[in-house]
Symmetry: C2
Subunit: 224 residues, 2 copies
């Protein structure tokens, strides 16, 4: 039996409730546009329009609000764009980790584990989240797909293993997405733990364990 030495974490919806903050940020942005005088006052209608635009342009576009105001035929939209972006960023910069995360990370470091991030996305944006969450210093290194050169996949995890010169059987990948986190890590020889909402815990997973929080993560890792 091999002991786990290296623990890899995904960020979004694994270390903090990304989706909840995104929804709140968008709704706050719409409320701010109405507050500053947007002639359309129906926030539900605006939110649904915004969701369609996000689907069309992709979530990483910075043109969501510009496009919304274009579709609303608003002239001189700067005041509304500024209000939306300020409210959006105020919310996005106030992100908090899941309550079980900071103490778990500290505990794992105390126990001698090496901690890493394995995440898809833009390197600066993903680093920004770690810094805002106040947990960046817990990680020995951070692997973002943009810098690794490939999205999370068997190749991604193979590259990480070679770079760190470690064995995959000494590693565990912890994430929320079967297709991005569990499956490719498993293909590369990692152990894996999936984080799922409580009410989804009965769904099947290829992961070694399913958890809904990290309060017992140390015990679970010791069982691997």
């Amino acid at each position: 039996m091999v002991n786990i030495k290296y623990i890899f974490f995904d960020i979004d919806n694994t270390l903090f409730p990304t989706s909840e903050f995104s929804e709140l940020a968008r709704k706050n942005a719409i409320r701010a546009m109405i507050e500053i005088g947007l002639p359309i006052k129906d926030s539900n209608k605006l939110y649904l329009m915004l969701l369609k635009i996000i689907e069309k342009l992709g979530s990483n576009s910075d043109q969501h609000f510009t496009q919304l105001l274009r579709e609303l035929k608003i002239k001189n939209p700067s005041r509304y764009i500024a209000a939306a972006i300020a409210a959006y960023h105020n919310t996005k910069t106030s992100i908090l980790p899941y309550p079980d995360v900071p103490s778990t990370l500290l505990n794992l470091r105390e126990q001698g584990y090496k901690l890493y991030i394995a995440t898809n996305g833009n390197a600066i944006k993903q680093w920004d989240k770690l810094i805002r969450l106040g947990i960046a210093l817990y990680f020995q290194d951070v692997f973002v797909s943009e810098e690794v050169g490939i999205e999370k996949s068997k190749e991604f995890f193979d590259k990480v293993i070679v770079f760190l010169n470690i064995k995959p059987e000494e590693c565990v990948m912890i994430g929320d997405k079967e297709e991005n986190d569990i499956y490719p890590a498993k293909e590369s020889g990692f152990n894996s733990i999936i984080r799922k909402d409580k009410y989804k815990k009965n769904q099947k997973s290829l992961a070694n364990f399913i958890v809904s929080d990290f309060f017992n993560l140390l015990d679970i890792i010791k069982k691997l």
Copy 2:
């Protein structure tokens, strides 16, 4: 004698101490890069390098920190860029008006004056400042050079006068810069008031009045 009806304000260093916040934001950004592990720890040296880069690229570039890290030959600079930008924005989004500003704006509105902004710069950035300062709603309209189509000049003020269908002699322009605020407004027929630090109050100005704060602005405007 004509009474003043319309009051135009510049934003930067007129409604809040822009330069002080910019300096603090840059210094906080450098401290954040060091906190997250930048191998160069001399914050004074880094600040001077940054100032040179800002001078070279212009203050509106978004590449200041990227360029700094390039000159420092830092590999995988995302963590430092993210830390710098987060600290910079945290400071920039915490801007506060000069203490005399909000009560003065409210008082002027109560007295029946119409308030406007006349500012150079990017429309969204200038709106962002008004929103962060919590004073956007005081203004009937906001004229930003980007949207007016020309930087503050006689032509800028002439255009504003035509757009609002008002007389320049019923207007006063209040700003901190002789060349951007006072001279061109005067050329267009406006009255003008310049805001200067106390220790610079003895310098000459083409403005009708020199003030170091707005606590007596109402009385001064009544004298025009």
